[in-house]
Amino acid sequence: MTAAPTATSAAETSAVPLLDLRGIGKSFPGVRALHEVKFSLQPGEVHALMGENGAGKSTLMKIIAGVYRKDEGEIRVSGQPQDIGSPTAAQQLGIGIVHQELNLMNHLSCAHNIFIGREPRKLGGLLLDEERINQGAQKLFDRLRLRLDPRTRVGELSVARQQMVEIAKALSFESRVLIMDEPTAALNNAEIDDLFTIIRQLRDEGVGIVYISHKMDEIQRIADRVTILRDGQYIDTVPAASTPMERIIALMVGRELAQTTPDIPDTSGQPVLLEARNIRRGRMVQDVSLTLRAGEIVGLAGLMGAGRTELARAIFGADARDGGEILVRGVKQNIRSPQDAVRAGIGYLSEDRKHFGLALGMDVQANTGLADMAQFVRGGFWLDEGKLAKTATDMVQRLRIKTPGIQQNVRLLSGGNQQKVVIAKWLVRDCDILFFDEPTRGIDIGAKAEIYRLLQDLAAQGRAIVVISSELPEVLRLSHRVLVMCEGRLTGEIPGALATQENIMRLATLRAA
């Protein structure tokens, strides 16, 4: 599409921004996603892009990466005006991207996923050179300190590892501009540290990095400058080091956020809602027992692959259990499918909204009602559209879901707003026992606070809540009690008041002898 970038001297490059965007506008049917947005990126800079869910961050990045076409505005790459018409064109301009949503081919190996489109070949281009492909991937993994066989099929990996593969792929392009759209949403602290080491390395090599995240602490750790978007509009660009977090948050949400300090209620006298005894499933869940009382929020912490998701899925009946029993309010329940679980009053909000949470292709309204259609049926089978619409509208307002209407296809919502729709679905179902698996993944700071308040309300109303989260501050802030898992076993329990990052991490790495 365009010629290779012209060679420029080091001095010139530092003067000319790698990326210079002006007056960018983009509309989707019913949504003006971007309006008059400007953005620039210098070589050797980490530039954070911040904003609430649906602010337009991903849309802006997709325009740079050639996925969407801008409606208006100008893009300059190294000073040259460019019309980036396709992902290939972006690649040729030296722009690499880690998308917010995973874009992997599950049936292919990690190595092939990384080198798709650029496979080394042998025998005059006739055959694939598997060896070089695998070696190349191994090198990238080593750099990321990722212990993973490049020949493993991507579909067999956990979300976190898939995310790491995506990052490895983006690195492999050796781009001059690297865009990372919420790369750490699925990662734990150790992995984030490794990633940051690499980002700093790249930065020192002169690569420009656009970094999107909703985790405020990361911004302070890694970013040089911060650009803030709100409702598709450019708000401001500020230096990261000298700007207080409160100020950035205020710019993002356009209002001051009240910090809620959790008070830990005494739930020891409350009735036991759920008792899971000796739950087993394969290697990932080995003989786990837990008890949940009405009114408590239990944090379930652990490293990636600790088996938290598997435990929740096993209790929920999503996967077959190898053993163990489940009692709800003291009554033994034979839970063999999600249907049984929901009937017994157990809900589970999956960590993977795209595959397990949403009926993509249906509208907000339909998704909201999906877990409890019985509520919206008259005479056994007639849909009560009116009631459904009312409920959906309520939820949109209550959770501040940014959508042009309840009839908007959820596929077209921003990632964070999709997550809110999944939460709405479970709020409608109103289960007594709720497992939230990474409930704030990809959710902005304002909404996060709302969700925390929501979880606290739910608990206060006498429900039992389990929050699985890889963000320790979140676990610490919410939990009345913290359970820690490591390698499929429960390694300890810490009362909320005594929990610290340190003692949680100690239990999370407590391997079996």
Binding site: P338, Q339, L358, A359, L370
Partner: protein, 326 residues
């Protein structure tokens, strides 16, 4: 945050309806072309009734397929199942001498039962729909021949049976067309206004998400296939009534016409999207095309070539329309 609901009217018509109007336009275009080329034969009342009648069986089968296709499944057995139901109608009424009041619902029940069998194979044995219904197709084809001894069963002695398709409650309009209209109307309501319809779309949209929402996915899928099977049963009765006989060797190949009608009507084979109105229009596009080419005495070979081209074209223009909406 603009959550303002679209106006009532716009919702009633909606993007879908607008698209359907456009699909309707290509049907009208087809009619206009044939009408212009041979007005005295094509646009006669007689031929219009003929087209309506010719559409009805394929139309009913297409309606049956629509449900299954919206769940992202496919049903290759519809044609042969139709035949099997007509054979069973013959067994009930002719061989066993049961009255029509039993035989007719009986044949529909057989259809529903076979639909259940597909559904069970797909859900419980985890056989993909293509293979499950292909297997059922072969099986039913054989069974129809075995049950009848490869001879047609004649309904000549069943008083009033021919009225199902050929009677004229509305003067000049064969009842078969009414049955088609009724089946389409009821199915449109089922698809849009009932729980079954909602789950049909949801299954096609993301089955795993539906399952994790605590819905008994298997049960609803079986019900969808059973509903589709029952509709095939109705098609079987229409066919038997019109031919006054159950022809055991008929039916294979009808599924492709039905599926083509569904897809021309804008239903996506990937699931989650579709309307009955679109299917009805799709079925009419197919039969107007065949009828028009026959009226023009186009040689059969060329009929095939043109039908192939126009099916592709119809789906292509449908895509164009959708794109323009973005």
């Amino acid at each position: 945050m603009d959550t303002a609901a679209p106006s009532k009217l716009k919702r009633l018509l909606g993007a879908d309806a607008r698209q359907k109007l456009l699909a309707f336009a290509s049907l009208l275009a087809l009619i206009a072309i044939f009408g212009a080329l041979k007005p005295d034969a094509f646009l006669t009342e007689e031929n219009v009734v003929g087209i309506l009648q010719a559409t009805s069986v394929n139309g009913v089968l297409a309606v049956a397929c629509t449900f299954v296709i919206i769940t992202a499944g496919i049903d290759l057995s519809v044609g042969v199942l139709m035949t099997f139901c007509s054979v069973m109608a013959g067994v009930f009424m002719v061989n066993w001498g049961l009255p029509m009041a039993v035989g007719v619902p009986g044949a529909i029940a057989v259809g529903a039962l076979m639909g259940c069998a597909s559904g069970l194979t797909i859900t419980k044995l985890r056989v993909p729909p293509f293979i499950a219904t292909l297997g059922l197709m072969m099986l039913l084809k054989g069974l129809s021949l075995i049950i009848t001894g490869t001879r047609p069963i004649y309904f000549s002695d069943i008083e009033g049976f021919d009225a199902i398709a050929l009677g004229t409650l509305i003067p000049g309009l064969p009842n078969g067309v009414l049955v088609f209209a009724l089946v389409a109307g009821v199915s449109a309501i089922v698809l849009n206004k009932t729980l079954l319809g909602r789950y049909t779309f949801a299954l096609g949209s993301n089955e795993e998400a539906v399952r994790l929402s605590g819905v008994n996915v298997d049960r609803w899928k079986i019900i969808v296939y059973a509903y589709s099977g029952a509709v095939c049963g109705i098609a079987g009765l229409m066919m038997a009534s019109r031919l006054n006989s159950a022809q055991p060797a008929l039916g294979q190949g009808y599924e492709l016409d039905a599926i083509a009608a569904v897809v021309i009507g804008g239903t996506s084979l990937a699931g989650g999207v579709g309307t009955i109105l679109g299917t009805v229009i799709g079925a009419f596009i197919m039969s107007v095309l065949v009828n028009g080419l026959r009226i023009l005495s186009v040689a059969q070979e060329w009929q095939m070539v043109l039908t192939g081209l126009i099916i592709i074209l119809a789906v292509y223009t449908d895509n164009l329309r959708r794109k323009r909406q973005h």
